[in-house]
């Protein structure tokens, strides 16, 4: 690990301002992803701004009837919250499907959204990777791609976003609240937070330098049957091959987001009109333009079958 200076932030605005004043600064909250990457020298921040002491660890009701989840609420606390379990079951289920008990105790809501890909070539510092060294090339293309993305990818990067939680937040139409380095705040729909790789896969979100996520906002509950189904190589503690976050209503309408297939939670609202026509019709629209490799083409079929299983489960 490279040496770094360290400070504890006094307020969200001060943290954001400090982040652009100090060259090479990064925020640290749970640290479960950042420290892993720092040990491998994939991340080499010169300065860490510890945001753990900021009072961003509560879940409060909003005036609109939803919930405001502080950025520092742990994955365990969020999944265990009675309101989340009752009204946002897809979120509680997604959180519990991810990582291990120890990691969920430490990992935070904002950190989960901002975690980096687990593409093995991103992790292997001996290999070119456009995320690690922009312009160096993508070792995954033509490499071992079974775990990697099938849609939304580019000729520069085929990595997936690893989060389960983000898939549920996308289905729930959640929004993130941020504070920028100049103290201004804004709201960004989770749908727009993550960028597709294009030819700049190292730029993963629309956040500006220094911009700090302070909360995630859930809209008022929409009811329905909420399911998170994750298909993976082990029964526990493994990243998704394909996951489906679903909110299904009795009238046959619904919202579906997929994990494990794309550089961001994958949802196409227009495709949801096809839901009453069955999993094949829906998946065909949802996955239109997919560019799988020989090794991960199974993910397209697996997405359709997993969705079929979810629809069956919702029917009871």
């Amino acid at each position: 690990m490279k040496p770094f200076t360290y400070e504890r932030a006094a307020s969200p605005a001060q943290a954001a301002a400090a982040a652009i004043q100090m060259p090479g600064a990064k925020f640290i909250a749970g640290g479960t992803n950042l420290l892993d990457l720092m040990k491998l020298q994939i991340e080499t921040p010169a300065h860490l701004i510890d945001v753990n002491r900021l009072a961003l660890d509560t879940i409060e009701p909003t005036q609109e009837g939803g919930l405001r989840i502080g950025a520092l609420v742990s994955n365990t606390d969020l999944a265990a919250d009675a309101r989340v379990r009752r009204d946002y079951g897809v979120l509680a289920r997604a959180l519990l499907a991810g990582a291990s008990g120890q990691l969920r105790n430490k990992a935070t809501t904002a950190g989960n959204l901002l975690q980096r890909t687990r593409c093995p070539y991103f992790y292997d510092t001996d290999q070119p990777c456009n995320k690690r060294h922009p312009g160096s090339g993508c070792s995954a293309i033509g490499g071992v791609t079974r775990q990697l993305g099938v849609i939304g990818t580019s000729d520069a990067c085929i990595a997936t976003h690893p989060s389960d939680m983000a898939v549920a937040l996308r289905a729930l139409d959640a929004t993130v609240e941020t504070v920028k380095a100049d103290g201004a705040t804004r709201r960004i729909p989770v749908a727009e937070l993550h960028r597709l790789p294009g030819d700049t896969p190292h730029v993963e979100t629309v956040l500006e330098p220094g911009e700090l996520i302070t909360a995630v906002l859930l809209p008022a509950p929409v009811g329905g049957t909420q399911i998170y189904r994750k298909v993976r190589d082990r029964a526990s503690y493994a990243f998704a091959l394909v996951s489906v976050g679903a909110i299904l209503q009795h009238d046959g309408t619904g919202r579906i987001a997929l994990g494990g297939v794309a550089p961001k939670p994958w949802r196409v609202e227009e495709a949801e009109a096809e839901l009453p026509n069955g999993p094949r019709a829906f998946t065909t629209r949802l996955m239109a333009g997919a560019r799988p490799t020989r090794d991960n083409a199974f993910k397209v079929a697996l997405a359709e079958r997993t969705l079929g299983a979810v629809l069956n489960e919702a029917r009871g």
Binding site: Y6, G30, T32, T76, G101, Q102, T125
Partner: protein, 219 residues
């Protein structure tokens, strides 16, 4: 004490930078290789280690330490406080050998910095029981042979104690059938909740028996 690390770091970094430049050139030609050089050269500027003070309590004893900011909580426990019961397995949060309790919840001590724990209350395997007065979970692991080599055992035991607390606190898991109901102890619940603790010897079935016995005794 710190001076030796600078030449060491810079030599190693030059090697890393050299490799990255070669890789960049081979893959994408000179224009892109320039990026690799720039990124790498930023990383090759030698940085001096930084030290910071931190105070926390471990097993009821307060400690004031002055640590390199890079020190993980695990290394602080093992190398600075000489509490070597907590083990370093993968050092990347994948194996659970380093599991300790911080402010009542289990975490991977390898994936957190010691300086982040100002004022924290840490419990390690040494704080659970002593050779003369074993914690019930330690005694059950002995009775049921919940180990072979023993390396993962302190992490397994700390995790197991926390798992029973988490079930008691009503925290659901991936295998909890009714997410609104209060979770109940079951072997499936334990298997799921213990999945962050790997045992290369494969003592899992005996570990489950040990935890089940303690859960029954506590119930």
């Amino acid at each position: 004490m710190h001076s030796h690390s600078e030449p060491g770091l810079s030599r190693r970094d030059l090697l890393v930078a050299g490799a990255a430049t070669v890789a960049g050139s081979a893959a994408t030609g000179p224009a892109h290789a320039q990026d690799a050089v720039n990124t790498s050269s930023m990383d090759t500027v030698p940085r001096a280690p930084v030290h910071a003070p931190v105070r926390f309590t471990v097993n009821g004893r307060e400690h004031a330490l002055e640590l390199d900011t890079r020190t993980s909580l695990l290394d602080a426990l093992r190398e600075h406080l000489h509490l070597t019961g907590t083990k370093k397995g993968c050092d990347h949060g994948q194996c659970g050998a380093c599991t300790v309790m911080v402010d009542g919840v289990r975490i991977n001590s390898c994936l957190t910095l010691a300086v982040m724990h100002e004022g924290a209350d840490v419990t390690t395997i040494e704080g659970l029981g002593t050779p003369d007065r074993l914690h019930a979970m330690q005694a059950a692991f002995v009775k049921h042979d919940g180990y072979q080599c023993g390396y993962c055992t302190p992490g397994q035991i700390c995790s197991a104690v926390a798992v029973l607390d988490e079930i008691k606190a009503g925290i659901p898991s991936h295998v909890t059938a009714d997410i609104m109901a209060t979770p109940e102890f079951s072997v499936d619940e334990v298997r799921e909740r213990m999945s962050g603790n790997i045992c290369r010897c494969g003592a899992y079935s005996n570990i489950i028996e040990a935890i089940t016995e303690v859960a029954g005794r506590a119930a």
